[in-house]
């Protein structure tokens, strides 16, 4: 149990949480994509450190996959989507920044209390990162429900997925390789489908503001 590595992992987990907050704080979609990219690289770095800790080559492969797919490919994909579709700014979200940040603080406390048993019973050195991972999940979920632009909701979903990947890493050093690969594939296909639907929304509604999608009631 190399303490330096454990320290770096804890540091990385905290940094990942801060990048999740960046999505709440900033206003421009380019900043969101940049924050997601940084978050994915940090996640890949944390996974690589854990592979060092555990001596598992599988985990190193997963780390490389995270860095490549989520850190390079997906942000590039989103940037291209944004260039073709979008406006660069988030349309007045439902809550202002200060209120959103306070709610995220409350979500962090919820995450801590929900995982208290888990952290107490776990014997892994990464157990302090578990509440942070759940907090990232909750923040991603909050971004998804409190934003009005379709692409921001997609980014919220991606942050949610990052949080789940981080949870899997912290709680059990990742999942079996087959499942991890399946999950990656699913995320990529989901993203592709989201892109298709976003194009359709833009073509049909002439805006990416999802509050205009109110045709179906009751």
């Amino acid at each position: 149990m190399n303490p330096a590595i454990v320290y770096l992992v804890e540091l990385g987990s905290g940094a990942i949480l801060v990048t999740a907050l960046a999505v709440i704080w900033r206003h421009s979609l380019q900043a969101y994509i940049g924050a997601f990219r940084l978050q994915s690289f940090l996640l890949g770095a944390v996974a690589a450190l854990l592979s060092q800790l555990q001596g598992s080559l599988e985990l190193l492969g997963v780390a490389l996959l995270i860095a490549l797919v989520k850190g390079w490919f997906i942000p590039r994909f989103l940037r291209r989507l944004l260039a073709r579709v979008g406006s660069g700014r988030e349309v007045r979200p439902y809550l202002n920044v200060a209120a959103s940040l306070l709610i995220c603080g409350a979500l962090v406390v919820v995450a801590y209390s929900a995982t208290a048993d888990l952290v107490a019973a776990s014997r892994l050195p990464t157990r302090n990162g578990v509440p942070l991972a759940l907090a990232v999940v909750l923040i991603g979920f909050f971004v998804l429900i409190s934003r009005r632009q379709a692409i921001t909701q997609v980014i919220g979903f991606l942050v949610l997925e990052n949080g789940i990947a981080m949870l899997a890493l912290m709680v059990s050093y990742g999942l079996p390789l087959m499942v991890e690969l399946g999950v990656f594939l699913d995320v990529l296909i989901a993203l592709w489908i989201m892109q298709v639907v976003v194009y359709r929304i833009r073509d049909t509604f002439d805006t990416l503001d999802v509050t205009r999608l109110k045709g179906l009631r009751h």
């Binding site: 979903f157 997925e161 499942v179």
Partner: protein
Amino acid sequence: MALALILLCFVAGAVLCLLPYRAWLPGAHLGLAALAAVAGSILVAELDRGTLPRRWGAVALRLDALSAFMVATILLIALLALWHSRGYVARELARGGLEPHQAGRYYLYLDAFILMMLIAVVVDNVGLMWVALEATTLATVLLIGLHHTKEAIEASWKYLLIGSVGIALAFIGTVLVYCDVSILEPAREGALDGSRLLEQAASFHPAFLRLAFVFLFLGYGTKAGLAPMHTWLPDAHSEAPAPVSALMSGVLLSVSLYALLRFKPVVDLAAGADFSARFMIGFGLLSLGIAAGMLVIQRNYKRMLAYSSVEHMGVVCLGLGFGGSLGTVAALLHILFHALGKSALFLLAGNIQQTCDSTQITQATGLLRRLPVSGRLFGVGTLALLGAPPFGIFFTELAILRAGFQAGYLALTLAAAALLAVIFAAMLAHLQRLLFGEVERAAAAELTVAPAAFALGLLLLLGVWLPPPLARLVERIGMELMP
């Protein structure tokens, strides 16, 4: 062997779709579906003899009675859907609702959808089961948005987001379960196999599994259409093409409940049966309540059917929550009967929509005159779904209520019965407006009614007489689910 044939049928169907669209494509798919259905009955027979495979190379399979039951249900409804699709797609092409290349993609996504559902119910690894269920979400999104109308796109976006979030929550639950497994033993090979989980259930931490079950229930419950996570359901099921709605309403919701059922015995052993029971009864009752409320004010017959699905999933949850052999067996039979009835109704609703060009009830009055056969079948089907005897749903709903009384939940069962009565009244009122009314009898086009009639006939038959193989199968499932 039979399983390989089944999966191969749909893979072949998908491959065929990659060619440019030809007029024989729907017929070919119907043939493949029929072949798969035959193979499905062979599968059930193999189960009786106990000769089902346990592994396919690196992938562990779990082909017990519950899997076989789900496979049979999926194949039956898939057959009906693909049977109806022939006529449906032909009419859509004729009246310009679909382009030929869209029809090709329709079959491709449909094949992928059915394939993924089948994979979800036969693999042992709960992680792979999750992957397959997520894939069904992705396959159906594009099917919902097939017609590029505003409502369809809105429905597909909501479905995509809510479905993805739900499935992500279910994944968190899976991760937490894996966490508990990996604490006990560091070996990773087959650690997420459902059968292994059941064996180790007694040694898991109760607190972990409770937290995991909360996430799993919220996640898979979203996919199953339980309130209050059901908000995507009315939009998605009403905007999708009729055969797709039939498949989604009839089977996909049940497959999501299947996923939950795989975890329930594990959680019951580790954390006590009360925990999951309370969840199931609570959310079941909530689904009934919300469905009842929304059905009273409903003005769209497809959304009416969708809320009815919410109600029936609530009933199934109640049955599973009340427990006991009566409740469990009744819930499982209810899954089959609801699949039959709901798919028949959605297929007929497709006919109605193609004739009346609208999904509003006020635009589709006088069905007895406009569409004599479809209208009558729709009426019969609705009554069957509301629990009229001698159709099967009457018996299963009654059995579930009895199970509730037997388990001692007097007030809750009475509340459920009251809500069922409210739903009965509401839907009957809507049905009356649909069927009766003064309309000139327009020239009825060639409509496909055979699949729906077949389904309703089967529902009637099964209500009166349960064939011995089916009875044996369901009994076996009941025994397997009770630890």
